[in-house]
Symmetry: C2
Subunit: 209 residues, 2 copies
């Protein structure tokens, strides 16, 4: 799926006769490395192309600028994450076991993508050709989760509820608590955060029966 | 509390010998009116000062620019909302009744501030002298909610849980579902959204016992 930033900062992207997926992949990989080390705001196109072994001109054959690069990185990561999440939804087990597996996948992802994920939480509302980027990503994840919740309701493992609202709420909660965790890693262990989300999602504030 | 946008767009704010609270109030009031009618992105300082009956120069005596105006509006609204929420927390009743009252206050607020609230959800991460604006607002609301949750735990009405994490999760859930609601008002009635949040917060996905 091709999504680009609207109102790109910097130069206009030149048309590409034949895009080379390998060049694009190397540019994105170099970006991931620099973002991990320095965060997205500090990323400079000059450093990125040096890391990837290309010229600045080549970068602008593939991306409109820094904002467009971020959109493309987010789209790639979202697709990758969706594949992993869907696999965890499809396995055996109760709905709760599926959600627990998916949560591990998600916490792996945010740990791995830490600087990029935090930048996404802060600046993910950038306008793209598919609407605001964060709303697009949220809708993708909610659409994948929804059938899992619907099946849980059919099985009687979850209460009957509007599955769209419920999927939105669960995804939003995961995202927000994961962001909180990354900023409080010294005081909250990962296993604690996983248990917190699972208990909140399954039982809310209710005391044990 | 005085909070300003960092890296203001536009002119530098001139120092004010004696600020006139009434002038500031009229500028903010005019901004609220224009944002309600046209949304924040469409707001122009020229229109704002015409509405308030001042000159552009006067505006820049009080605000660094549009981003700084938005920070000031958010701070004012957050303080006002906190006062209302704290009052609803302090009344009689069970923890659940308190949370239900607070939720009504919150849904009143987001309905009233609709365009401004949506802009806050999209662009609330603007840097201020108190850190990112949305993180600041979230921390304020979570700090107010925390003692309510702690009292609910002491009373045995809520399960024992880290109150900081729990307060963060509840505030984030309210905010996200409220944003979803404003964008789906045609399909989701307010009463339905209120019930959804309350049930999710109190019981999660658990089926009725």
């Amino acid at each position: 799926m091709e999504i680009h930033a609207v109102r790109p900062q910097g130069r206009e992207r030149r048309g590409l006769g034949t895009a080379n997926p390998e060049v694009r992949r190397r540019l994105l990989k170099a970006a991931v490395k620099i973002i991990r080390e320095q965060g997205f705001p500090a990323l400079r196109i000059e450093d990125l192309v040096r890391e990837a072994g290309f010229s600045v001109g080549t970068f602008y054959l593939y991306f409109n600028g820094k904002a467009d690069l971020f959109v493309n990185l987010t789209v790639e990561h979202t697709q990758w994450l969706r594949g992993r999440l869907r696999a965890s939804y499809q396995g055996e087990g109760t709905t709760l076991e599926r959600l627990a597996r998916a949560l591990d996948v998600y916490l792996d992802f945010v740990t791995e993508a830490e600087a990029g994920f935090l930048h996404f939480l802060e600046s993910g509302h950038v306008q793209t050709t598919a609407g605001p980027l964060s709303a697009w990503a949220m809708a993708q994840h909610a659409a994948d989760l929804r059938p899992v919740l619907e099946e849980g309701m059919r099985r009687g493992e979850l209460r009957q509820e509007d599955p769209e609202l419920l999927a939105h709420a669960v995804i939003a909660l995961n995202q927000s608590v994961a962001g909180f965790w990354l900023q409080h890693k010294d005081t909250h262990a990962r296993q604690r955060i996983k248990q917190f989300i699972l208990t909140f999602v399954t039982s809310g504030l209710a005391p044990p029966p």
